[in-house]
Symmetry: C2
Subunit: 111 residues, 2 copies
């Protein structure tokens, strides 16, 4: 029997220094990454895009944010809102709430 | 440019008929499954265990639940509480809230 389960809470120990957006691994295993991202008013720099080699599924758990896609569509995200973003689907974070931390849960998985 | 992103909300369209626990795929891709599970008082039948060939990371998003492991440890889960459960780590759902739907987010990923 293997029983090394590992527990935590997504709302626990939110970084207090949010001068930079933070990325914290929850699970990292053979190309699959589950991470918590904490934003506070951060957005992707003006003329750059995420163009990722892996697929990403991302959900806002707390706070609010906006995602802009290269086709011009902008999605406003509230808690529970998720987006599945295929590899190389260009996107940027166009806004996150400056008044409270926005917690994202992201799952990166291989092509 | 690939831009077939796909959006949804984890709290949307919760099944109204919860006579059975429900399992709904959000993403299913090459051995990785992201799913929403909705429970309403359901638990694993008394003398059976989940003994899964894949790893599972699971988080309670709404409601509350208890997970029992074969080593006798029982975890009480509230929103935001998550557990990473290795493949073949035997566990059972020993309790879920009978008064409100409990929403779980589960990520199954290959060994």
């Amino acid at each position: 029997m293997e029983s090394n389960y590992r527990a935590g809470n997504l709302f626990a120990d939110v970084p207090t220094d949010l001068s930079n957006e933070t990325f914290e691994d929850i699970v990292r295993y053979q190309g699959v990454v589950i991470e918590r991202i904490t934003s506070l008013g951060h957005r992707t720099s003006e003329d750059s895009w995420y163009d990722q080699p892996q697929h990403e599924w991302v959900m806002v758990v707390q706070g609010s944010a906006r995602l802009l896609f290269a086709d011009g569509v902008e999605l406003a995200l509230q808690p529970g809102d998720y987006v599945n973003i295929p590899a190389h689907c260009k996107h940027r974070v166009s806004w996150t709430d400056p008044d409270q931390p926005t917690l994202w849960l992201a799952v990166h998985y291989p092509r």
